[in-house]
Each structure stands twice: as structure tokens, then as C-alpha cells.
């Protein structure tokens, strides 16, 4: 098997507020072809070779990938280059595909977890685009034109924003040669309005918001803290990554597996939640640490108080070497388990290439193993304050 994954630094953060949803909508429109490839020709070609293709958009990036048997790598890669560099964005396809994106938005609003997470992001990021919906809104999408999308594409899909990752049974020189020949020439540069960064007010209290959803069958408690981003005016990449990975360890310690602190106490012993999970999402400009519990509404206050108390404990007392070792081993094995296939590896290298540097990917296990109990104590106390956080609560109406 061979995987090609093209990562472009053209995610939702590049949009000015009025262009919200453009990056994601463009990702859909890329598949609508070029002067040489009519709509659908790309999908048909890749799938007729027995391959699969898809794409995704986040705040920091959009990426487009193909997986095929290795012998079809040479035949399929040029199609992807053609799409990405020469997207035509035809007017009539723009209007039709907008209907599809509007359906995607409707579908998200039938999902209470999505609604809750979106509300939580808005609560955390009051100015930064990380608080906006990646999909945009009906209003924002209706306000934009195909010409503006072509402008956005020609501004942001350029060599310096793009990483082409190839993983598989392909000789190195052949891959480099094919990418160099096909990913050229790029479209004439354009420019378009950019997002103007505004200082984000820090969270200095508990920002709280309650939503009542008639179709929800259970309550959710969703808590968030701002964590380290990759880009920092004060610290180098190593320091930022060390903090980020420390928060990965804390997340495992809190909610990964039945022996983790919160699952054991809240689900297994006290039966206060149906489930609880947490995670640290590493992004360029700011990371986000979240804890989400699914529970009966009558347990909301109690569970929130217990979580805050357990976070205080983390900053007051060092974790035991055995508990730390469990978390480190779990993360290192998960890393191994999620790098088995060419497409998983291509995704990992592409992600790091967009947010930092692809060589970082290989250093993950050693960085995780270097973390000490006192690091976790410092991180908990610095980032996970039981007094300053955002809380979105969903109640079944």
C-alpha cells in the first residue's frame, strides 16, 4: 500500500470573520475539478484503481489524501496535484455544493456532543478563530461568491503552505521526482483579507453556559482550559511540546482506562457518570484541554466539584512513579498501535509538518518517557486551575 497525504496551511484560522466556513467549503470544492478534470473525474479515477480518497479541514490546516496499492501510486498522484493546484471552482458547482455543506451543518445540529463542543469553544475563544465553527453558518456561506473562493484558493494553496507526504513501498527518488514534476506550476498568487489577531482575554473566572436540548437523553458536563500552543512568543518549540505532551500524560492519568483516576472514582466506584473522557488538542496558536462527562442531570454539580478537587490534588501532590509509568507506557504503545499503516504514518507526518516540523513525529516516545512527576505537578498547577476554566452544561429539556 501507498498513502499520499497533502497538508495545506489553509485551515479556518486563515479566514477573516466574514469569510467563516470558506476553508472547509473550499475543501469540498477542490473535488469539483479543473479545466482538465470535470467534476467527479478525480473520485472515479482513484476509486477505479481500487483506492480511496477523502479530505478534512480543521483550524490550522486542510488535508487531502489517497490510499492505493503501491503500483497505482504513479498513476494516481498527478490527479491530486492537478486538483489542488488548478481547482476551477465553477459557479454552478459552487451553488450546488453549498447545499451539501448546509446539509452538513444541519446534521451537526442533530448531534448534542457537537453542539456542546461548539458552544464550549466559543466560550473559551471569545476573539480567536478557534472559537468559530469550522463549517461556518448559513449566513456566512450565503454571503460569499465563487470569485472570492478562487481568490482564497490562489492565496493560500501555494508551495510554502503545502506539504506532500508519501509513505509506502515507493523508492524515495521516484516519489520526490514525481512530486516535483506534478506539483507545478502553482496558480498565480492572489491575496485576500486575513484574520486580524486580537488579544484573547485570559480566562480569569469560571465561564459558564447552560444549554437545554429537547432531544438530549442525558446531561453533559464539558470543561475546558487553554493549554500551550506550538507557536509561542516566549518559549521555544521544545518547551511548548514538553508541556503539550505532559498534558497528554495528565489526560491519560485522569480518564484513560478503568484504573485512571476519574473513571475509577466517578464511573466504577461512585456510579456518578455514564462515561468520562478528556483530551489535549495541540494546535498552533493555542492548545485546548477538555474533560467531558456524560451523566444524569442531578449529578452535574457534584461531579464538577469532584473534578475540580482532583485537579487541585494534582498540583498539590506528585504522582507516584508507577502511575506515571502506566501513563507513559500506554501513550507509547498507542503511538505504536496508531502507526501501523502508510495512511496513519502519512497523517502523522503531515500534521506535524503543518503545526511544527515533521521530524517531531519520531521524537514522541522519547519526549513522553522524559516526563517526571514534578513536571506534571507544575503543568497541573499552571494550566488546569480549578478556579479558571470554561464550562458548558447540556441539560435534557
Amino acid at each position: 500500500m501507498a498513502a499520499v497525504d497533502v497538508w495545506v496551511r489553509a485551515g479556518a484560522v486563515t479566514e477573516p470573520d466574514e469569510w467563516m466556513g470558506m476553508a472547509h467549503f473550499l475543501e469540498h470544492m477542490i473535488f469539483k475539478g479543473t479545466d482538465r478534470l470535470p467534476p467527479g473525474a478525480f473520485d472515479w479515477a482513484i476509486e477505479n484503481y481500487g483506492g480511496m480518497t477523502n479530505a478534512a479541514t480543521s483550524y490550522d490546516y486542510a488535508h487531502f489524501f489517497i490510499t492505493t496499492a503501491s503500483q497505482h501510486f504513479e498513476a494516481t498522484l498527478p490527479y491530486l496535484a492537478e486538483l489542488l493546484l488548478n481547482a476551477k471552482i465553477p459557479d454552478e458547482e459552487f451553488e450546488r455544493e453549498r447545499e451539501v455543506v448546509l446539509e452538513e451543518i444541519l446534521q451537526s445540529y442533530d448531534n448534542p456532543d457537537w453542539i456542546g463542543f461548539q458552544a464550549l469553544s466559543e466560550l473559551v475563544y471569545q476573539r480567536h478563530p478557534y472559537g468559530r465553527p469550522i463549517l461556518g453558518t448559513e449566513d456566512s456561506l450565503m454571503g460569499r461568491s465563487p470569485a472570492e473562493m478562487r481568490q482564497f484558493h490562489r492565496t493560500h494553496y501555494q508551495p510554502e503552505t503545502m506539504t506532500v507526504v508519501v509513505v509506502g513501498d515507493i523508492p524515495y527518488n521516484q516519489a520526490v521526482d514525481l512530486v516535483s514534476r506534478t506539483f507545478t506550476p502553482f496558480a498565480t498568487r492572489s491575496s485576500c483579507p486575513v484574520y486580524m489577531a486580537d488579544a484573547e482575554p485570559p480566562i480569569t473566572t469560571v465561564r459558564r453556559q447552560e444549554l437545554h436540548l429537547p432531544r438530549a437523553e442525558q446531561a453533559r458536563l464539558m470543561l475546558a482550559w487553554i493549554g500551550p500552543g506550538v507557536d509561542s512568543p516566549l518559549h521555544n518549540l521544545d518547551a511548548q511540546l514538553q508541556d503539550a505532551y505532559g498534558l497528554d500524560v495528565l489526560s491519560v492519568l485522569l480518564t484513560e482506562g478503568r484504573t485512571s483516576r476519574l473513571v475509577r472514582e466517578l464511573r466504577e466506584e461512585r456510579n456518578l457518570v455514564q462515561g468520562i473522557s478528556s483530551g489535549f488538542s495541540l494546535q498552533r496558536e493555542s492548545g485546548l484541554f477538555t474533560i467531558t462527562a456524560w451523566l444524569e442531570p442531578e449529578n452535574l454539580e457534584r461531579v464538577e466539584a469532584i473534578i475540580c478537587d482532583r485537579l487541585s490534588e494534582l498540583s498539590a501532590l506528585p504522582v507516584s512513579p508507577a502511575e506515571l509509568a502506566r501513563c507513559q507506557r500506554l501513550l507509547c504503545n498507542d503511538h505504536a498501535f496508531s502507526t501501523e499503516t502508510p495512511s496513519q504514518l502519512a497523517g502523522l507526518y503531515g500534521y506535524y509538518s503543518v503545526i511544527a516540523d515533521p521530524t517531531v513525529a519520531a521524537t514522541y516516545p522519547q519526549r513522553i518517557r522524559a516526563i517526571q512527576p514534578e513536571d506534571l505537578q507544575r503543568l497541573a498547577s499552571y494550566y488546569l486551575s480549578p478556579y479558571h476554566y470554561a464550562a458548558t452544561i447540556i441539560r435534557p429539556a
Partner: protein
């Protein structure tokens, strides 16, 4: 050594049978320092009575929560301290224990899996906890319009057959389940001659065999045979039903009763006489033809439904379908989520796309692309150690044998457009229709 046969097939799968009936499949894959194992028991929710729906799922939830020797926490510590994964699960057609480890921990984890599988203690308080969590899970499933629509479709198509219900069961049945029910089910179905152990990773077949021998070799076959499976006959009475909910989108879902996986030994209970009864004898050709048609309609960005209903008409973000491989008659389903005002258009166009398969043979190019896609996706689904262990173990468990891997691919290549059309005319006639959405938009279709 109690070994009675060693065979090697394509893909270098080693197949071995212990004298107590356990089938061991091993694929040595040294690429990564990972070993995945799947332990299949020939059980699943097909064996539940209607009143006991959810029984096998509940057993899977408590199986890892206690043995005669270990508490729930001790088991979790043993697994999590080495960063392994070990879990159990139940489907309609089989019960499964899965594990994944780095190579050095495999022996320890396989021993633990053996202990869980053979002697779960099912502590009362763990059972109560998992029972309560299951009841909550049944309720929260109702938050997803797709699940509501699919539950409704399943009940329409399967009536009092075990395939009618989600494997979680219903609130009424789960609340009534007792520890004795679980023990009884375990005692009946968990036996060495109903066990398939499939392993893939950095380990040699001989080593797996000696480990399995050590963990399971002394497990004797009970003298009692498993009682025959008596399933109710399926009737084909396509109807329409709707559930009114204040959702953003309507879910439109069409289902057709379709062939089970063809097996040499067909169970007696699968044969019927009534006119409306669903036929019980299927050929491999029928099964393969419907796999191909499902792939043609629903698989990927170039699939017929995606191109016609999404790309050309913008009716949906998600429009797709599935035809799962099952021991008993399966469902051929197509569905989409769409804005409520499109409900009628969605229903008409989904139905028209399926009808088209009966009225026109696929063009040569269409059927060739559908084959390339189906075979390509099939190959993409055998990349990780866990995927490989799963697919071969499953083929062995449901009676197809590991050779089915090759047979399937050969049979797909051979299907003609005429055969596919004839099979569509036999099975894709009148759909069961399930709708979920705002009352004003869905109720008119069932009145």
C-alpha cells in the same frame, strides 16, 4: 502435542486444530512490534430469546470485571500497566475477546484473556453497574436520528427474530436480566469446540500454538451438545413507518431482506413454506452480486448515490448504504439525511436508484469500476494486524473457512451484469421504509 492438523493457505495463514476443537489461526507479520489476537466464540445475540435481548452484550460488559482469582481493578491494572488493550464484545453472530499488545507482553495477556473467557465470576455489584450503564446507553442511542431510524427499520424487517433488536437489548429486557441468565449462557456457549483463536503479528505459529495449549489445552469439551438454534421464519411484508421528532434533518431509510452468507450446512430452522416467507437457500453468486450492487450504490465518492443525489442534486451530506455479511438473512439498506422539506424527493430518488438496478443491467464500465472498488476496499481493510486477525478468524467462525478470502475475490471478478440484474429482480423489489423527522414532513408518508 495434541495437534491434529497443520495447514497453510494463501496469505501464509497457519491453521491448527487442538484435540479439544479449538481452531488456531496465525499469521506471522514481523513488520511492527505488535501482536493482535481475536478470540471468537460461536455465540452472539442470535441465541437470545426475545425476553432476554441484551444478554450477550451484558455478558461482554462484565466479562472483564472479575474472575475467581482477580477483581475488576486487578484485571484493569494488569492490562493498563503494560499499555495493552483487552476487551470483549458481542455481535449478532459471535462473541469476541480482542487483545493487542507489544510482543513482549503477549503471553501474559493471552493468559489473562483465557482466564476471563473460561471463568468469569460476574460479581453482583459489577453486574448491577453495567446493567445500569447499559440502560443509560439504550436511552442515549435515541439521541441519534440515524439510530432511531435504523432501530425502527430493523424491527419492521425482523419482527420477533433476534436481528430485530439492537445488541444492547431494550430497557425492559435488560432490567430483568439475572446473573443466572448470564452464567447459563456462558456455560452453554463458551466451550473449546466453539472457539477460534486468530493471531497476527510478530510471533511464530509454533509459539502461539504452545501458548494456546498451555492456556486452553486442559479445557474439556462438555458432553452436552449445544441445543439447536430455533429461529422464527422471516416474512416479507414491506411497510412504511415514521417516527416524528423535532430534528434538523429527516432520515430516509430503505431496507430489503437479502441473502445470508451461503453456508454448506443450512440450519433446519431457516427453511419455510409460506408464500410470503423469505427464501432460505442462497447461492454464493447471489450474495456476491448484492455485495457488488451495494458497493456500486454506496461505496465511496464515485458511488451512484453519492454522485446522483449529493454531487448532482445537493440533497444530502451523508447518503450511503450497506449490506452486511450475516449468518441469517441480512439487510440491504440505503439511506440519507436531508432537510425536512426534501423528504419526499429523497424517498422517491432513493427508491428510483434501487429500482434502476432491476430495470437496467449495469454498463460494462460501471460493473468493472464497482468490482475494482469492492476489491480495492477489501484489500485496504486488511492492513493492520488487528484487521487481519479479525477477518480470518471471522471467516473461520461463521463456517466459511479461511479459503473464503480467495473465493470471495474470485467470485467478485466473475459476476456479470446480467446476473447482478437478475439478483436485483429477486431481492430489491419492494422496500421497507423507515422515516424519522419533523411530524409535518414524515407522517404524511405513512397515513
Amino acid at each position: 502435542m495434541n495437534l491434529i492438523s497443520v495447514d497453510s493457505y494463501s496469505h501464509h495463514i497457519h491453521r491448527m486444530v487442538l484435540d479439544n476443537g479449538i481452531v488456531v489461526l496465525v499469521k506471522h507479520n514481523p513488520a511492527a512490534d505488535i501482536i493482535a489476537a481475536r478470540l471468537f466464540i460461536r455465540a452472539g445475540s442470535q441465541w437470545e430469546t426475545t425476553a432476554q435481548a441484551g444478554l450477550s452484550h451484558l455478558l461482554s460488559a462484565v466479562m472483564t470485571k472479575g474472575t475467581d482469582r482477580l477483581s475488576s481493578l486487578e484485571i484493569a491494572e494488569a492490562v493498563e500497566s503494560v499499555g495493552a488493550s483487552l476487551g470483549s464484545d458481542s455481535t449478532t453472530d459471535y462473541f469476541l475477546v480482542s487483545l493487542k499488545t507489544v510482543s513482549a507482553d503477549f503471553a501474559t495477556m493471552l493468559k489473562l484473556a483465557g482466564e476471563l473467557l473460561r471463568s468469569p465470576s460476574i460479581p453482583e455489584h459489577e453486574l448491577e453497574l453495567e446493567q445500569r450503564l447499559t440502560l443509560q446507553a439504550i436511552r442515549s442511542q435515541q439521541e441519534q436520528p440515524f439510530t432511531v431510524a435504523f432501530d425502527q427499520l430493523r424491527q419492521m424487517m425482523y419482527a420477533n427474530h433476534p436481528y430485530a433488536l439492537s445488541n444492547l437489548g431494550t430497557e425492559a429486557t435488560v432490567a430483568q436480566l439475572q446473573r443466572d441468565d448470564l452464567l447459563q449462557y456462558h456455560q452453554t456457549h463458551f466451550r473449546p469446540d466453539h472457539l477460534v483463536i486468530s493471531v497476527c503479528g510478530r510471533i511464530q505459529p509454533a509459539e502461539v500454538l504452545s501458548l494456546v495449549q498451555e492456556v486452553f489445552g486442559d479445557w474439556a469439551v462438555p458432553s452436552q451438545p449445544v441445543p439447536p438454534l430455533n429461529l422464527p421464519a422471516l416474512e416479507r411484508f414491506p411497510t412504511r413507518r415514521a417516527i416524528a421528532q423535532a430534528t434538523q434533518q429527516t432520515i430516509v431509510m430503505l431496507g430489503y431482506l437479502a441473502p445470508a452468507i451461503p453456508r454448506p450446512e443450512l440450519q433446519a430452522s431457516d427453511t419455510f413454506s409460506a408464500e410470503t416467507s423469505f427464501p432460505a437457500a442462497y447461492s454464493l453468486e447471489e450474495y456476491i452480486a448484492l455485495k457488488l450492487l451495494s458497493s456500486y450504490l454506496s461505496n465511496g465518492l464515485s458511488s451512484r448515490l453519492f454522485v446522483e443525489l449529493r454531487e448532482k442534486r445537493g440533497l444530502a451530506y451523508e447518503v450511503s448504504g450497506f449490506y452486511p455479511t450475516r449468518l441469517h438473512p441480512a439487510q440491504f439498506v440505503v439511506y440519507m439525511g436531508t432537510a425536512p422539506e426534501n423528504t419526499e424527493t429523497a424517498l422517491t430518488s432513493l427508491q428510483a436508484e434501487v429500482d434502476r438496478l432491476r430495470h437496467h443491467p449495469l454498463e460494462p464500465q460501471e460493473i468493472q469500476t464497482a468490482k475494482n472498488k469492492l476489491l480495492g476496499q477489501y484489500a485496504l481493510g486488511k492492513q493492520t494486524n488487528a484487521q487481519i486477525a479479525q477477518i480470518f478468524g471471522w471467516y473461520e467462525t461463521i463456517g466459511l473457512g479461511i479459503e473464503f478470502d480467495q473465493q470471495f475475490q474470485a467470485a467478485v471478478s466473475e459476476i456479470s451484469a446480467e446476473v447482478a440484474q437478475a439478483v436485483a429482480q429477486r431481492y430489491l423489489v419492494q422496500p421497507y421504509v423507515s422515516l424519522v423527522g419533523p411530524a409535518d414532513w414524515v407522517l404524511p408518508f405513512v397515513q
